[in-house]
């Protein structure tokens, strides 16, 4: 990543970000740096405090009432339908998402089911790695459990999370010193099993960062994150 070295230069990049003069790519770099580098979030917050008062110059405009209606629908507040089955139960998965360890246990259940299905010998001592993807240091959001033997990751989204219908959430892995590698689009509201290619699995170690970004529907058109990074976290052993 092309992150400037000196702290003054970093601070200036934050100022440029808040002012809004950076390119799409540069904006993504800052957002990623904010997740990974100490002091960046504080620097951005200070620039926001400095420049955002300019918004007072903008005269208020009353939004049409259908925006509120659409908003409620998107948050699922207007629906009363019930979902059936444990697998499809959001509250079950959200509960399991509470801690990485619990998510790992949930994976064990998934594995048992898979094994029963495929009638294969269970793998001896599967190796798990976990990552808690935090939203700007504000606690756990997505939980990812890596099952190295089956080359898959179970990703559990945060509680009450929703995105616009014309967007997707996409999962990325960022090996140390490398560019993000797409792991594909994940369901924004339900747990997803992400299959990982063997080549990618080799890079998926305890120094790797996993991240979720907001992308146009169907995923990033460029192969690199184009939308804001929603959450990121380091992979850890258990």
């Amino acid at each position: 990543m092309n992150t400037p070295a000196s702290s003054d230069e970093k601070d200036l990049r934050c100022a440029e970000y808040v002012l809004g003069v950076l390119s799409d790519e540069e904006r993504r770099e800052i957002e990623l740096a904010m997740q990974q580098e100490a002091g960046m979030a504080e620097s951005l917050a200070r620039w926001q405090a400095r420049l955002m008062p300019l918004n007072e110059d903008v005269a208020e405009v009353m939004p049409p009432s259908h925006v509120w209606d659409r908003l409620q629908a998107q948050l699922g507040w207007t629906q009363t339908g019930r979902r059936a089955g444990l697998w499809n139960s959001l509250s079950f998965w959200r509960w399991t998402g509470l801690t990485s360890v619990v998510a790992a246990c949930a994976l064990a259940i998934v594995l048992t089911r898979t094994v029963l299905h495929e009638a294969e010998a269970p793998p001896a001592g599967p190796q798990y790695l976990v990552a808690t993807l935090e939203r700007q240091g504000a606690g756990a959001a997505w939980t990812a459990t890596v099952d190295a033997q089956h080359a898959q990751i179970v990703v559990v989204p945060p509680r009450d999370f929703a995105i616009a219908a014309n967007h997707s959430t996409q999962m990325w892995m960022i090996p140390p010193g490398s560019k993000p590698v797409s792991l594909g689009v994940i369901d924004p509201q339900r747990p997803t099993i992400v299959h990982v290619a063997q080549a990618q699995l080799q890079q998926l170690g305890t120094q790797t960062t996993l991240a979720v970004s907001l992308e146009p529907q169907g995923g990033s058109p460029t192969g690199q994150p184009t939308g804001p990074v929603l959450a990121a976290g380091r992979v850890e052993g258990i």
Binding site: A15, M52, V58, L71, A164
Partner: protein
């Protein structure tokens, strides 16, 4: 700002409609306006001291957003009612397209619902927090547009005016301090900063629009930002 009535905004609007062109040439040459940061007193004298209702309104919104983090739907609805006119205006300003601004507005509040737990009232106010999300979403959106649809609009129409002293007097202390520091910048750099903030344009777009080399635009903006920082920290 919905946290309190904003007579300044209405005033600014009416003023804009009436004297947009005329003011452009005259405003900076008015005595007492082109003041340096060494003479803040006369501006302070002209300002209204913030009433306790200002702070209360701001605290109210902060409390509401903190309640939203605890999944309080009623607080969310009140927060939406009180802040969405400002946030919608910010989206329209950058996007200059009502339908896109509506989509973005919806997006902003979905994000607010999802990420309210990341709001820290020690670091930011609810309105700054929401305004930041709105600007980021709107800027991301215009960056992804294939072409910059500024052709039909002339620079004259989109360059924003600094508020008049009368309008400024109705705004927050933070805004007034920022204006003092903006006024201490060379005119062209101040215009570049305002243009950048209100249009969300990239360096390249700004350079093209103001007909200067990219390097010049970058150094104007970067120098201005550093000057603003020093001035605001004084």
């Amino acid at each position: 700002m919905p946290s309190r009535p904003l007579p300044g905004d209405g005033l600014l609007d009416a003023h804009r409609a009436d004297t947009l062109r005329a003011r452009r040439r005259t405003v900076y040459s008015q005595p007492g306006w082109n003041m340096s940061s060494r003479q803040p007193k006369e501006m302070r004298d002209a300002t209204r001291t913030p009433t306790s209702s200002d702070t209360e309104g701001r605290d109210d919104l902060d409390r509401m957003l903190s309640a939203v983090a605890l999944r309080d739907r009623a607080a969310f609805e009140t927060l939406y009612r009180r802040t969405s006119p400002k946030i919608f205006a910010i989206c329209i300003k950058v996007l200059r397209d009502r339908s896109e601004a509506e989509d973005t507005l919806q997006d902003v509040y979905v994000t607010a619902w999802n990420q309210a737990a990341t709001f820290n009232p020690q670091l930011s106010s609810a309105l700054t927090w929401l305004g930041t999300i709105a600007r980021n979403r709107a800027i991301d959106r215009i960056r992804r547009r294939r072409t910059v649809s500024l052709d039909e609009t002339t620079v004259e129409e989109i360059v924003d005016e600094s508020p008049t002293p009368a309008a400024l007097a109705q705004l927050s202390q933070e805004r007034q301090r920022l204006e003092l520091c903006l006024q201490a910048l060379p005119d062209i750099q101040r215009n570049a900063i305002r243009e950048a903030f209100f249009t969300g344009s990239s360096y390249a777009e700004l350079a093209a629009r103001m007909s200067v080399p990219l390097g010049t635009m970058k150094s104007w903006i970067r120098r201005s930002l550093m000057q603003l920082k020093t001035c605001l920290e004084r």
